[in-house]
């Protein structure tokens, strides 16, 4: 095992070498070495994936886990005004960092989630909320899709009824049960 690195460098030029060229034992050994190498590489990649978010976390202090979870949940519901498709939790924009600190400070001061949201809406407008309040101007946003779904469903129903009503009069030779399947 001590000469493993040297051998890997000297005799195994890499991915281009095919195992079928070596004897059965060599092939097995090489296969084992290769999968070990692959394991290390994938392990390194997995660890790297965790490294980035860790670096982005600001050193904030919470009195307990529940408070920290509340903070994280609140951040996910608020939009970063500069990178508009990111939440305050995701964004690295300058303004997002400042707002995170402000939210943390207000939480420490005993403000409720609602008070903090009101504070931000007061300054940045409704747009800061990922889930806007249900009121006059946002009715279409909240219920529009359901209205469209209901209209489409109603249209489909009317259409099918008409077809079903028209079907018996049709001169098609197929039986009734077959026809209803064809309708679909």
């Amino acid at each position: 095992m001590t000469n493993l690195p040297e051998r890997m460098g000297a005799r195994d030029p890499g991915l281009g070498t095919r195992d079928s060229m070596a004897g059965p034992r060599g092939s097995m050994l090489r296969g084992a070495r290769r999968s070990l190498g692959a394991l290390f590489v994938s392990l390194a990649l997995v660890l790297l994936a965790f490294a980035a978010p860790l670096a982005a976390i600001e050193p904030l202090e919470f009195k307990d886990r529940a408070e920290e979870q509340r903070y994280q949940k609140l951040l996910r519901e608020l939009r970063c005004l500069q990178c508009q498709n990111q939440s305050l939790a995701d964004s690295d924009a300058n303004v997002a960092g400042g707002l995170r600190q402000e939210i943390h400070r207000q939480m420490q001061a005993g403000k409720s989630d609602e008070e903090i949201k009101a504070f931000l809406v007061d300054r940045y407008g409704e747009f800061v909320l990922y889930r806007p309040e249900v009121k006059g101007g946002t009715m279409l946003l909240w219920f529009g899709p359901f209205v469209i779904l209901a209209l489409g469903g109603a249209a489909l129903l009317v259409h099918l009824r008409r077809r079903a009503a028209a079907a018996p009069a049709a001169p098609a030779p197929a039986s009734a049960s077959n026809r209803s399947e064809e309708d679909w």
Partner: protein, 176 residues
């Protein structure tokens, strides 16, 4: 039968109008909730003299343009000559809000590019910026003599913005 022919067309037209009205709108431009309201209260030191303190009250009396800038902000350099020109010509009363910056960096920046500001409010941690609803630098606000926000401009100010938006508002409030 008639309805069946007209309805799809009507729906198409409706969606068309809806989408058409959205074309050309810049999603980055948000209506500022602060326009028309009283400017936020603050108290902060002067950038160039830490012993001096500015507040909303101390700046009031005459309408002014408050410009959010920072030494790390490239777009601020773009608008800087414009601000400088209008300030030099005495057309605007220009106040700076040095936002999320280091004092030494800001002073060096002013030394290099010129300092057109009458007063500069120093806001290193961006708290005053939050109260003004600042999302990024540069941003500028026209404040009336009695401390109300008349206009918010996002991004660098151009000579055209100055002529068409800022100057009329500043002038409108000086003549009682």
């Amino acid at each position: 039968m008639r309805l069946g022919a007209v309805l799809p067309l009507a729906v198409f037209a409706l969606i068309g109008v809806l989408l058409w009205s959205g074309i050309g709108k810049d999603p980055k431009v948000l209506p500022s909730v602060l326009v028309g309201r009283s400017a936020p209260e603050f108290s902060a030191p002067e950038l160039r003299d830490p012993n001096l303190t500015h507040s909303k009250a101390s700046l009031s009396g005459e309408p002014y343009l408050i410009n959010v800038f920072a030494s790390w902000c490239p777009s601020c350099r773009v608008e800087h000559p414009v601000l400088e020109r209008y300030a030099r010509e005495g057309k605007i009363r220009l106040v700076g809000l040095n936002w999320k910056d280091e004092r030494a960096d800001a002073l060096a920046w002013l030394q290099r590019f010129g300092d057109p500001y009458e007063e500069i409010v120093y806001d290193p941690d961006g708290r005053i910026g939050i109260d003004f609803g600042v999302t990024a630098a540069p941003e500028s606000f026209v404040i009336s003599a009695d401390g109300a926000i008349l206009y918010k401009h996002i991004g660098p100010l151009t000579p055209e913005d100055m002529e068409t938006k800022v100057l009329p508002l500043l002038a409108g409030k000086t003549t009682p």
